[in-house]
Symmetry: C2
Subunit: 345 residues, 2 copies
């Protein structure tokens, strides 16, 4: 007889508008889970170790009449997202008990994954496995593909990154420094600004909340203008950037977190500069770059071993603290990559 366990989980209560709140989720231990995959399936059973808090999850908390780019959460069901887990049972030929994987899982102690082909096997266990929620996971690949594939960077170019101390931003800045670019980042606290300059090696950084005039701040830090903008926030920042771009500049549109909780997005007024400065603005989704993951993992592991990349994560302990951790992204409470520790092993 297979072991049966209580399975604590974070349940999505109901669709929301505006800013998410902790009370939009509920931590419950009502179900039990059998630690065995069903007979005749090709599933794996995961023990979840680390869960990733990602801004795109906000979109899944809203009801969409037309299908969105990611499916809506199901009210009353467990939250799903990226995470790192350990295989505790498997009937899939590619996975065996004891394997570590990352990919989409549930916000719960144990998850049955019925399409394990979608999981990535973790090849390097000589780094903290939590890195696979960030530096070596989806946000890392986002930074890597977004910067190298979308921005067409060249040595010596002027690069600006917003939400720069976060999971994606801290890596974009470091990839840009490794390419020999001049890099400036913006972030929402002096502590983060100091991280950018002292830990991640940004050439300059500023606290956007303390700048009465974003346009003036960018002019000060980019007297020659911006070649590459890695866009994480949207809204007012985008408008200020557009007036400070150089001819033939590129904008990788990765995220617009300042807009995710608004009823109606703010208007962007300076798009005419796209023409006069011949700017390319390119939206992208990391999902289109999964085939680059092995190459990215290889390169990034080497950077880590050579001490060429620094990484800061912000770990919330326990599923009980997962709702607050997720909600905190939208107030900038995370310092570095926000994750939730379900279990250290």
């Amino acid at each position: 007889m297979a072991e049966v366990r209580a399975n604590k989980k974070v349940v999505f209560k109901d669709f929301i508008t505006g800013f998410p709140k902790e009370s939009d989720m509920e931590v419950v231990t009502t179900d039990t889970v059998r630690l065995k995959v069903p007979e005749g399936s090709t599933a794996v059973l995961l023990k979840n170790l680390y869960l990733s808090c990602d801004p795109y999850m906000r979109s899944r908390m809203s009801k969409h009449d037309e299908a969105s780019y990611v499916p809506d959460f199901v009210p009353g069901s467990v939250i799903t997202g990226f995470g790192v887990g350990k295989v505790v049972d498997s009937s899939h030929p590619d996975f065996k008990v004891g394997d570590f994987v990352w990919g989409t899982t549930g916000w719960e102690e144990y998850s049955l994954i019925t399409a394990p082909e979608m999981l990535f096997k973790i090849r390097y266990t000589d780094v903290p496995l939590s890195y696979y929620t960030g530096l070596l996971g989806m946000p890392g690949l986002t930074a890597y593909a977004g910067f190298h594939e979308i921005c067409s960077p060249k040595n010596g170019e002027y690069v600006f990154v917003s939400a720069a101390s976060g999971a994606v931003g801290q890596l974009v800045g470091q990839f840009a420094r490794l390419m020999g670019c001049y890099v400036v980042g913006s972030a929402g606290s002096d502590e983060k600004v100091s991280l950018l300059k002292n830990k991640f090696g940004f050439d300059e950084a500023f606290n956007y909340k303390k700048e009465p005039d974003l346009n003036a701040a960018l002019k000060r830090l980019f007297p020659e203008g911006i070649d590459i903008y890695f866009e994480n926030v949207g809204g007012l920042m985008l408008d200020a950037v557009l007036s400070n771009m150089r001819n033939h500049g590129r904008i990788a549109v990765c995220g617009m977190i300042s807009q995710y909780n608004l009823e109606k997005p703010e208007g962007v007024h300076n798009l005419f500069y796209l023409i006069t400065k011949r700017i390319r603005m390119d939206g992208f989704l990391v999902f289109d770059f999964y085939h680059k993951y092995p190459q990215f993992e290889e390169i990034t592991m080497q950077y880590i071993k050579d001490g060429k990349i620094n990484y800061v994560e912000d770990a919330a302990e326990g599923l009980e603290n997962a709702p607050a951790a997720l909600v905190g992204l939208f107030a900038g409470r995370n310092v570095g990559k926000q994750l939730v520790v379900v279990s250290h092993e």
Copy 2:
């Protein structure tokens, strides 16, 4: 002794804000011109035949504190712009009397061109020379390079063109049809809509002034969505297009004429779709594609000879009517390419 002639011209009075008016320009015949280039120069003297009215000229009527992408007009001086002329004297080895050229000239009967290297020699005189203000000139190259170089079109794709009956738009639509695309255009009158469908071979067209809901109009005409948007107008239309783009769509940002006379540009709200639909938005200026002119001219001449391209121009007779013709662009009074006939030979 060289002949001296009166030289009627259109003078720019003073910098403006808002919509341009005829009274912002003045037609005068105060100067005379000597029909000979100065001794020791490498200039040419042009008799101007056809002048081009182009939307970008509006920008030159405003005072810019920072240098803009085109120089401001000089109050009290003659308006300059694209035109077609005949060489009546030359001390430049590449140009001889009787040559026809197109390029930047003055809004006057005769212009002394001191840097004739910037002029294009007209190689085909078996088409109306006025075509070199449009179909075979700057707007033609804009349509050609903008569509083929920026939009990466593929056979069978869904293409939308705004300001579609104008100088650039009518050609973009026809280039797209020649590529086997499905093409819809918008324009500001029923007469123009009928031109689009019956003369230029657009699959569909609509009068945007009669559509209470642009989003609904685009949904109706593009049930599968838009792959390529050739952007000529900006503002509300851009927002409606963004919600109707398909995944991996492309937007060539050519112009935003609906914004040129506003004190503050309207806000564009739907940019988040750039990410979820992985849209590329690419601003461009025709000046960057001048090296493609010979190839473009060759191909387009062949289309004309084969009867594969139709062309509609709107000619104002005489310099006296030039201010009204220019101003008319911003009210949509032109039907097809707006030009001014200074002299038929």
